[in-house]
């Protein structure tokens, strides 16, 4: 077995006297897809921020491609939640993608032919070539998220992080974004960490699930973690995990939110 791309070692995160998680250890191999699940406020986004080097853990450490996130041994692609761009934002689709390539470098920066090629390739990979020249503020949420994936891919990342990238997308676009991330990890072996409150759109592609509950966590395959026994243990109360026509529904979590709610609105 080759060296893992991501190593998380005895990680703990506390804010004041509140512990979000502790003693969290896991490794991600090339090509692996990990879904991070759990209710709000359990540290899903904080985990992403630690992996990005934007947040210092309270204890333990993380290495990506062999070194701490801050040292940036390899690029990390990040796909955020869809946000509304101002209609007049002076940015075309291809400009958004380009920022992922060289937006962090100083100077005016002339785009090299090789850079131009990379951007075209990333746009083509996500099927966004047709609207690459339109201002991002006038694109649909689904189109924007495809560009976000291209923006993350253009730097040829060693790891992809996605934080609720499907939120406010319709089912067809949700499927599209998941397929793009899945395709990348299969073709280039880039592991994917996928934070989501609803596991169902990624259930068929994820290898493992990290479930963060208040104060406890569990990791394993979806069939190991998404069971009544495991979640009841995590929440320390009786929780039912139902499988309804291939979808996972969780009933009875203490905060009374149906974590993997079935959204029939679409």
């Amino acid at each position: 077995m080759t060296r893992p791309v991501v190593s998380v070692d005895s990680l703990a995160l506390r804010f004041g006297d509140r512990t979000l998680f502790e003693d969290l250890s896991l490794e991600l191999a090339a090509g692996e897809m990990l879904a991070v699940l759990g209710p709000n406020g359990t540290g899903k986004t904080s985990l992403i921020r630690i992996l990005l080097g934007l947040l210092e853990p309270s204890a333990g450490g993380v290495t990506i491609d062999g070194c701490p996130p801050r040292e940036k041994c390899g690029n990390v692609g990040y796909v955020p939640q869809q946000r509304v761009f101002d209609r007049d934002t002076p940015l075309r689709g291809r400009d958004l993608v380009r920022l992922g390539l060289d937006g962090h470098r100083w100077g005016l920066g002339r785009l090299s032919p090789a850079g131009r090629e990379r951007i075209e390739q990333a746009l083509a990979e996500v099927g966004a070539t047709a609207y690459a020249d339109r201002p991002v503020g006038r694109l649909s949420g689904g189109e924007q998220q495809r560009l976000r994936v291209a923006q993350a891919l253009v730097s040829d990342p060693v790891l992809l992080l996605a934080d609720e990238p499907l939120l406010s997308l319709d089912l067809a676009h949700q499927r599209g974004v998941v397929e793009l991330l899945d395709a990348r990890r299969r073709s280039a072996g880039t592991p994917v960490v996928f934070v989501t409150h609803d596991v169902n759109p990624v259930l068929h592609t994820v290898d493992r699930v990290l479930y963060l509950a208040p104060g406890h966590w569990a990791i394993g395959t979806p069939d190991e973690v998404l069971t009544s026994a495991t979640l009841s243990r995590l929440y320390d109360t009786e929780v039912d995990v139902l499988r309804v026509r291939g979808r996972v529904v969780v009933v009875g979590t203490p905060d009374d939110t149906h974590v993997h709610h079935v959204d029939e609105a679409h």
Binding site: L54, Y78, D88, L99, G103, G109
Partner: protein, 266 residues
């Protein structure tokens, strides 16, 4: 009469000073508008006025007082790097108090009231050779700053979340842009006055954003619109008895309106 005026040295100086100020105002405006920081421009210019009024009381060069006032506010706003509503209310509170202090300074000042009027409404035709040289030096600093910071400045202005994930130092850039903005504002005050700085810093950039989705083109267009307004305004005020600041703001606003209408039908 008009052609006689055109041959005058003070008119040439005014046109050159106007051009210098238009270039920096139009350029920085693109980033300010993209960050949604228009209100900050107003605050920086009003507190530049307070600084200038304070300098008058102390008997030192009002331009020096103005630059100091603008820089202090720019530095504070940049360090706070607030966003959204919190920033608006904080700016409003500081601005109102600063202006009150400016009023106090003016009442303490025993000199000519025209100096105060010039600060508030501009005095482009009063620019001397030494002042033009100073304007050019400050402008060169601002242009160099924008050129060096261009890509990360754009990245952090239009897409701060991903910029942070890519390691762009957001706070540093926030301080940098507000300091450059403070210098620009101090320049623009000398042409259009405290109350009309927005007409050179915000209006051209807002119009340019309407006309193009390309960041580089938006910057060039914004500079072109600011140049047209300033030079056109100065020339018109030679032929008419009305104030230069009025013509500059009128041209700037006319272009903005035209841009809105044109982009609506596009």
């Amino acid at each position: 009469m008009f052609t006689d005026l055109l041959a005058q040295h003070f008119v040439h100086t005014a046109l050159l000073a106007g051009a210098v100020v238009a270039v920096v105002s139009g350029a920085i405006g693109v980033f300010v508008v993209a960050r949604g920081a228009s209100f900050a421009v107003h605050a920086i210019s009003e507190l530049g006025f307070t600084g200038a009024a304070g300098a008058l009381v102390l008997g030192i060069d009002p331009v020096l007082g103005m630059i100091s006032g603008s820089l202090v506010v720019g530095l504070v706003l940049g360090l706070l790097s607030l966003r959204g509503r919190e920033r608006d209310s904080a700016i409003g509170a500081v601005l109102a108090f600063g202006l009150g202090v400016g009023v106090l300074f003016l009442s303490l000042y025993q000199g000519y009231a025209t100096e105060a009027t010039n600060l508030l409404f501009g005095s482009i035709v009063g620019v001397g050779d030494g002042q033009l040289r100073d304007l050019a030096i400050v402008a060169a600093i601002v242009v160099a700053g924008i050129a060096v910071l261009y890509r990360p400045l754009l990245f952090s202005s239009v897409d701060p979340e991903i910029a942070a994930a890519r390691g762009v130092p957001l706070r540093l850039l926030s301080v940098a842009i507000f300091l450059l903005l403070a210098l620009t504002t101090a320049e623009a005050i000398q042409v259009v006055g405290v109350l009309l700085v927005l007409t050179l810093v915000i209006t051209p950039a807002a119009a340019a954003q309407r006309l193009t989705g390309r960041p580089g083109v938006a910057l060039v267009l914004s500079v072109a619109i600011a140049l047209t307004a300033t030079e056109g305004g100065i020339l018109l005020s030679l032929a008419q008895p009305w104030p230069t600041s009025f013509f500059i703001s009128a041209i700037s606003f006319a272009v903005y309106l035209a841009a809105r209408i044109a982009s609506r039908s596009a």
